[in-house]
Structure formats: C-alpha cells, structure tokens
C-alpha cells in the first residue's frame, strides 16, 4: 500500500435510504432511484452534477437477471456516465463505497454517487433458494447445505474456542432490535424484546435460533462522495473517509479459522494504517460491524481489534456496547434490527457513520461526542471483509 499515491481526501456529503421491508411491488431500480434521489437532495446536487456512479448489488440470482449491474443502471443514475457494479456478496455494503472512494481519491472524479440495492423477495420460494447455488457443487451441494447451519457451525466453534456463553451472544440481538426503534427504515424494531424471547425462539440450526438471525429484506441506500476540493460547497458537515481496507480468506470455508476472522483483522489493519490509527480501542469512538447474526457482531468487533478474542461478549454483558455505553456498537439497530437487504446495508453501516458523525442521527444519536467511527461488512462465501474508517474534522 503506497499512501503517498492517494491524491485527494474524500468526504460523504449526503446519504439516503429506503424503508427496509418486503416490497413486492417496487422494482429494484425504483428502490435504487428512491435512495439515490434522497442522497442527492441532501447534498444539494442533481444527477447532472455527478461524474461517475458505483452500483452495489448481491447475487444475480436474487433478481433472476444475469449481469444485473447493467439492468439496474437507470435506477442508479448511471446512464451515459462512467459506471461500474461491484459485488462481494454481503461485503458489498461497505465495498461499494470503497470503490466510490478510489474513484475520487485517485483525482479522476470530483462527485461520485454510490447506490446499493437489493430485492430478495423476487426469488421463489425463498431467498434461501438462491443461496443453494453458492456452494461447491461436488463437495458441499450433495449434502444439501443451508446457510444457517454453516453459520451455526462457525458460531459453535467461536463459542467453544473462546468460552463464550450463548446468553451473552443473544444479548446482541436484544440490543440491536431495541436500537432500531429509532430508525425510520426499520423492519424489525422491537422496544419490548427480552433475552428470554431470543433464548426461547425457535431452533433453526442449533445453536442458532430464529431471533439470532436477520431476515431477508428489500431496500436500497445511497451516498454521495466528493473530493476535498468541493466538499464545503455542499455541506458544513462533511464526514471524511480516512481509511479503507479489504481482504479475502480461502474459498474452502471448512479450512478457515472459524473462531477468529483473520481476514477482518487484515482489512482493519489496512484501514487503520491509512487513517493513521495506532491504537484502535483508544482512537475509535463507536462501530458499525456487520451483524447478520448476533455472534457475528462479537466476532467482527474482535476482528476489528476493538476487543480481545472472546472479550466482545463480556463488553456486551456489561452494557458497554449499548448506544449510551462507553463504546456504542450498532447504534443504527444493525441488520438484526433494521433488516438485511444484503448490499443495501450500506445505509446501516456507512449511512449510520455519516449520520452519527454529522450529528444527524436524531433519536439514534449516541450520547457521547463521536469523532471517529468504523464500519465493516462481511460476505462472499463468509470469507471477505471490507472496512471503512470515517471522521468528522
């Protein structure tokens, strides 16, 4: 990594996000347009002002259209502009803004629109059917794997290796579903959910129960990225992308360290080095790690070097990761509370960092003064991680 080659600082100056829900009627393009328009409006820009467009969306199989990047083009506002779709599964939510970042940081473009869309309700009988084709066709598929039980094995390995209690993991689901109460786009907010509700929810693939999981959803989110040369023309509160990192582990998921996500740590170290962060626990004020399952929030906090292996569960039990705690985690409500339309989690992760750091998070605004936040997503065959550090100056 040659940091001297980065030419321009890059700021977020607007963000938009649709309601996350089962949205049978709207097309993916319509949702993309809705979110993109919101982000442009906040930045005081029109589509004509945008130099290039990045689209993020997960498997083509969700929409039943191959090469869906060009199919979704018009809703993302990419027609007649430099345009590209990026896709690293669930990691897309934080990788699409990284692609937007390099378009601007390179000095090539001044104003870039990043749009992420996911419509999971089209695929029948269930989004799970599309996931049936992500496995190795010879070794895995004959055993008829289901994503949930693969995650379950990872969760079980994590609990075993670091002596983590299920009750502490389930507290993450309680926290995030309660945090989501303040989110206007939330699908699963529940102000009254208790630990017992999670512990007694239906077994899916033990140790995973129904309330440990974020369900499929439909939705879109967008952000506007601009160069340092024009940032203050658009807002008084630009939020800067000061570090980006990404890394992928082996495709044979059986061969990974299932307890500690080394690839997350590698991605985080890259982003921290770029942001000049030497001691992440002291220098980062809050985090939006990827939380499609409750145990993933804990594992990802550890991968982000914000907790020692196994310690994130203790921090959760002690209330440190609550919105008003000493280190708020997923103040948005996360995927567990707001919903999980794969790539559109851009709005929950990068969107939330922007809104919190710009002081625009409304009822979700964390109590303590925050200047630096980190967001992370996780995807492909549970093997890739993307990390972004953002700051208010």
């Amino acid at each position: 990594m040659n940091l001297k080659k980065i030419r321009k600082d890059v700021a977020v100056v607007g963000a938009g996000m649709t309601v996350f829900a089962r949205r049978l009627q709207e097309t993916g393009k319509e949702m993309a347009w809705e979110a993109a328009k919101m982000a442009l409006d906040e930045a005081g820009l029109t589509l004509q002002d945008i130099d290039a467009v990045i689209m993020g969306s997960a498997p083509d199989a969700f929409d039943g259209v191959h090469k869906k990047g060009d199919w979704l083009l018009d809703g993302a506002g990419g027609t007649n502009k430099p345009y590209m779709r990026v896709f690293i599964g669930g990691g897309t939510a934080v990788f699409a803004p990284i692609a937007g970042w390099w378009h601007v940081a390179s000095g090539m473009f001044q104003r870039v629109l990043v749009v992420c869309e996911e419509k999971m309700s089209s695929v029948q009988p269930h989004a799970q059917s599309a996931f049936g084709h992500i496995w190795d066709p010879i070794l895995d598929r004959p055993l008829k794997p289901n994503l949930v039980w693969i995650f379950s094995m990872e969760m079980q390995r994590y609990m075993y290796k670091y002596n983590v209690r299920y009750e502490d993991i389930a507290l993450v689901a309680v926290k995030n579903k309660r945090n989501a109460v303040g989110h206007p786009c939330a699908q699963l907010a529940d102000p009254n959910i208790t630990l017992e509700d999670v512990l007694n929810s239906e077994p899916m693939a033990l140790p995973v129960r129904r309330l440990d999981i974020s369900p499929p959803s439909d939705g879109a989110a967008a952000i506007v990225l601009v160069s340092e040369d024009v940032a203050y023309e658009h807002t008084d509160t630009p939020v800067w992308i000061d570090g980006v990192g990404w890394c992928i582990d082996t495709t044979m998921w059986t061969n990974r360290d299932l307890a500690f996500p080394k690839f997350v740590a590698r991605a985080a170290k890259m982003a921290y080095e770029m942001a000049g962060i030497k001691d992440p626990r002291k220098e980062i004020d809050f985090a939006e790690p990827y939380d499609p399952f409750d145990y993933k929030e804990l594992q990802h906090l550890e991968g982000l070097l914000l907790a020692e292996p196994g310690e994130a569960a203790i921090m959760t039990r002690e209330g440190k990761t609550q919105r008003d705690g000493e280190f708020p985690v997923c103040p948005s409500g996360g995927l567990l509370g707001v919903g999980n339309p794969i790539a559109a989690a851009l709005g929950i992760k990068i969107g939330e960092l922007y809104w919190q750091l710009a002081g625009k998070a409304g009822p979700r605004q964390v109590k303590k003064d925050v200047r630096t936040g980190v967001a992370q997503a996780w995807g492909d065959l549970m093997q890739v991680s993307s990390v972004v550090v953002m700051r208010r100056r």
């Binding site: 309601v19 829900a21 089962r22 949205r23 049978l24 009627q25 083509d60 039943g64 259209v65 191959h66 029948q124 009988p125 269930h126 799970q128 059917s129 996931f131 049936g132 066709p137 010879i138 070794l139 895995d140 004959p142 055993l143 008829k144 794997p145 289901n146 949930v148 039980w149 693969i150 379950s152 094995m153 990872e154 079980q156 390995r157 075993y160 239906e202 077994p203 899916m204 693939a205 033990l206 140790p207 995973v208 082996t250 044979m252 059986t254 061969n255 299932l258």
Partner: protein, 155 residues
C-alpha cells in the same frame, strides 16, 4: 410509507427463470483421484504440502498458500475428530427436518483441512468438539461425496 403490498396476487407480475438446462461440474484432476479412490478402494485420500506442512482433504493439485504443485497423496484413514458441528432443524428449502440432522466439520489428522459431512448413530446432545468419529461408507459406491453415508462415534 410503511404500508407495502404483501401479496403477489395484488400486483402485475410474471413468473420466469434464467437457468441453463443444466451444468457439468467436473471434479478436476485432483478430484478425480479422490472420488475414484473412494469408489474403488473405499479410501479417503489427501494431498500434502511439505512447504506449509498442511494436508488437503480432498486433495488438490496445488497448495493455495504457497502455490506449490502437490504430488504427494496419502491415505487419510477413516478416523478423525469433530472441529465444529450443528444440529439442523430445517433443510435448504426451509422445510422442517424431523428428526433434526447433525452436520460437522471433521478433521482426519493434524494440520489437515476438515471435511464437511453428516454425523450418524449419535444423539445430538452427545456431540461435542473433539469427538472421535469414523466414516461409514456405502457398500456399493458411485464416486460421490455421498458414498460416505456419515461419520459415527468411535466406540
């Protein structure tokens, strides 16, 4: 804004698919060795990388860590231990499994990549990490991963 149409009968829509007729997924050069040994000799074989001191099960023709060509194959035997497991209550189509089925990652030796498979002849509550298990093979085999019926606990 929160009110959305929930029933597909209420909107104009079309049903379609985008699949090819079907695909040929080949096992590859290393996979051929693995499945032929499993079918004809009832053996589970792996490939060893001496540089990384790591054994791949099933074998590969290269080491993904150091890119060495792997030519050293070994019979892994049928015994291993559970690295991680789950007790699945739903199948991949979301249908209930009754009784639930147990799946595990099983490592057939030290510094050996684990194999995904089913567990059998054991109650779910008896499964634990480190449990010693052995492969139960079909008597008539076709050269498929399901030639291994499941892994059962070593008595």
């Amino acid at each position: 804004m929160l009110e959305r149409i929930e029933k597909s009968s209420e909107i104009r829509h079309w049903i379609g698919d985008m699949e090819a007729d079907h695909y040929y997924y080949s096992a590859g050069i290393a996979g051929e060795k693995f499945f032929v040994a499993l079918r004809d000799e009832g053996k589970i074989v792996g490939a060893h990388c001496a540089t990384c001191n790591l054994t791949y099960v099933p074998p590969r023709i290269y080491c993904e860590r150091c890119f060495a060509e792997l030519t050293e194959h070994k019979d892994m035997g049928k015994r291993g231990c559970v690295v991680a497991f789950t007790v699945a209550h739903y199948d991949k189509a979301g249908q209930r499994l009754d009784p639930p089925e147990s799946f595990a990652l099983i490592s057939l030796g030290p510094r050996t990549t684990p194999l995904l498979h089913k567990l059998g002849e054991i109650a779910p509550e008896k499964i634990c990490v480190g449990l010693e298990v052995e492969a139960v093979l079909k008597p008539q085999r076709e050269g498929k991963i399901t030639d291994i019926l499941y892994f059962k606990p070593v008595k």
